[in-house]
Symmetry: C2
Amino acid sequence: MPSKGVLYVNMAEKLKIIPLGGLDEIGKNLTVYEYGNDIIVVDVGMGFPDNDMYGIDVVIPDVSYLIKNQSRIRGIFLTHGHEDHIGALPYVLRDIHAPIYGTKMTLGLVQLKLEEHNLKADMRVCQAGDVIPVGRFTVEFIHVNHSISDAVAFAITCPVGTVVHTGDWKIDPTPISGGMMDLTRFGELGEQGVLAMLCDSTNVERPGFTKSERSVGDSFDALFRGCEERIIVTTFSSNVDRIQQIINVAARYGRKVAVSGRSMENALRVSTELGYMKVPEGTMVDLAQIKSLPKRQICIITTGSQGETMSALTRIAFSTHRQIEIQPGDRIILSASTIPGNENAIGAVINELYRKGAEVVNERSNNLHVSGHACQQELRILHALVKPKFFIPVHGEQRMLQTHSKLAQSMGMSPKNIVITEIGKVIELTKDSCKVTGTVPSGKVLVDGYGVGDVGSVVLRDRKRLAEDGVIVVVMSMSHADGSLVSGPEIITRGFVYVKESEELIEELETLATRVLTECEYRHMTDWTNIKGAVKGELSSFLYKKTKRNPMILPVIMEV
Amino acid sequence: MPSKGVLYVNMAEKLKIIPLGGLDEIGKNLTVYEYGNDIIVVDVGMGFPDNDMYGIDVVIPDVSYLIKNQSRIRGIFLTHGHEDHIGALPYVLRDIHAPIYGTKMTLGLVQLKLEEHNLKADMRVCQAGDVIPVGRFTVEFIHVNHSISDAVAFAITCPVGTVVHTGDWKIDPTPISGGMMDLTRFGELGEQGVLAMLCDSTNVERPGFTKSERSVGDSFDALFRGCEERIIVTTFSSNVDRIQQIINVAARYGRKVAVSGRSMENALRVSTELGYMKVPEGTMVDLAQIKSLPKRQICIITTGSQGETMSALTRIAFSTHRQIEIQPGDRIILSASTIPGNENAIGAVINELYRKGAEVVNERSNNLHVSGHACQQELRILHALVKPKFFIPVHGEQRMLQTHSKLAQSMGMSPKNIVITEIGKVIELTKDSCKVTGTVPSGKVLVDGYGVGDVGSVVLRDRKRLAEDGVIVVVMSMSHADGSLVSGPEIITRGFVYVKESEELIEELETLATRVLTECEYRHMTDWTNIKGAVKGELSSFLYKKTKRNPMILPVIMEV
């Protein structure tokens, strides 16, 4: 291996990259970089539960590998402040302690999150251009554009070489704040030689370019100009530049702006305090004051772009908001894309707004939202600048990873130099090779209320069954002395049938259970597990035959 | 009221139109027409359950109004054979008996459905152009284009006037079978004078025209031409013309066709038997035979375009199909739109196909699907031809109904002549007026297994709670004589926490329940309802504080 660095590298010490989340899946991004005795972590994100994860609030990555290697962790580096990149911090920080590096905006949002959970952390504010030495790594912060302010990519260097970790990004030549992403720096790194690139694949299926954030401002202008009605706008609370544009256009047309929804209020406060948002004096008013203004001077910015049940816009639509009621003619602007799975929830809110006489303008036809991720043409530009030796498509589901691999191949990269893998796999890099060499524990840890990880597949399977057909409890007291039935069986059902209209069925069940118990006594069955099994089996097959349903049956024997 | 017909009409006898489904909602289409003592029903459709209707298979309209007026029902008229227009028949026909009128294809599909449910009905095959007298109504069948063969609109005439009921339709100048919809007849009716029109609003938000079904054939051709791999295509099984096009292109390129999935097999059988499908000889082969063919001669048509769990394509993707396994290189064509709510299920199937090395081509970028509903330009044409005096937009959610109303207004119709209403409302028409005058019972009846209507809001609320946090059963035996605790309390949980890892918590619950019971005894509480209430209350607040969860708590007292 006659490469230049050979003298300085202990060849036994390879660079390991271990994705623990965000690969072959969407959300809960977390990647581990490991060289010698040093570990750094990039992003600690959360994911949303699947439809069949009943009762689950949040999904976080399994970090048992990090817990086991706690003493080697030198730092946590955050690319930006979206939930899928920082949302698991409050849970993971219970077990893992390391300095957290991020930009001002990112750490401002982390701070908010930690306060909610009564947690503290060693946070170190960095900015694009900074190069942070941690153990034998250095981590360089590189400015990128995204749908949140102050997003960065990382150039992570260790003796094996430099890895470019893009985080989420797009190229916006006319952003609202902060300038175009630092293509020059990516190009310089490419000239110096990049060992590998881990690159965002979210929009790899879309041809062309993602539009500039600024183009949405033009759409707002057209909708505010000449409008005599109240205007209510909803968008993602983390999209500070979008909110800035709404405030700008409101001010331009003489409207005051009020805000509704906790996350929107928080975002506005943090971004104003940190200087990411500039609000023209006298523009913001309290929600309580807005009523006294004429319609044409009112603009309300709310949460609820995904139709979330408790969000401000949903409450406004369904008349459960304390301060705002829909008035006929209100112009409601939905400035957000629909996250897959939320179509019906958003549809219900839109229908209700229409029903109350509002005018709803949404994204589809009006250029009211632009993505924060690079499309094919942007991806090609970055590949051409960075020219990595090895390519690891990340931040996407299988179909996106494969499409991204094809895109790289279409630019001349050999498929041998592309690694598509999944979470928990150990990718080992030398100067000349990049391959999967092992596996560490990984997966989904479910958060339900205060419980982290105490709901697993068994509990979920029970919840699914309970959800679909309900529960039937069969209680009986039996004599400790001779195993005879002392009282019962009593039948209690929930979620099965409407009991008042099904008394006959319940009686049939009691009769059947009694018959089974009599038979057990007759056969001198004394093992209560067997007796419970017999009751369960008979009731279950009777019910399936009669109702084609399969409720959970819980026989309980009280020994007296 | 100096209208021409005044001499012949008993003015007390108005035409009533009562939508019992499909208005201000999607699905379960059913409309009642009533004149004097005569009632006719148009369509008897089913709907799909909302996300929070746990365990529900199908939703059907509440037809108690029809049951009450059974003796006056002269006929059921079906516009076409889609589930949302015929799917509730097996349930509704248990209570309602009337001749069913429909075209050959529609009744063929109804027949299949009734056989599955062991039901029989008086079915009368009609064709476009037929005029059926029923009571004082006549119903004329008019040919329209849609995404299923043999769809019709109705011109429903009674002494008050003629109502055009469009059903689902689009204008396809180059359909695969049956010719363009009968615009001439709509025009003639318009010339003669149409009292009111009830018109499909599904695609009213889309500008322009829906593309011809034939255009999809060109896309198939491009994907079959020169392909050396196996081709697997999925589409809606009811779209006979689409299946015909797949078979045609397969035959053109020397491929044999096999079919997988019960509904696809049924659709193929019915449509071939009834002459709606023409299969070139020697093209169809059994699924078992297909393995022996070279890849380039294989085409498999499957169910599963919506990612349904048990469908053929899902089973193929996840390797649970008995006869078909994905081979690297397989070309999978998804020729269907995504019904909102199914995004994630379809996404999971696509990712799994990619993971196994298949190439997936889907609708988005490849013109592999066209809608069956009219877009704005087509709607304008029909409005211009029919020129109804009154307009009732139907078949759509609130936002579509209102958009359709605006479209009609943009063509000169007065808003006073447009009625937007909801199910259960009685729309009363005279020659000069159209207004809502009353309400009849209406709503959603839930079907769960064999049970029709035995699951209502109470049961659903319980299922939701069980799904989210599980159930805790607290059982105790108490003395009949003095109310003292004989045995227990015993705690059983399901769907709450993983019991083996939470023994401590369960013990805490037992201790707490015992304390509550002791206290009850000390206070001489003897009413068991109160005792149960106390146990429930204490456990509930303890658990919420400790876990932030709210499981269903079921205290059971056995009297011994």
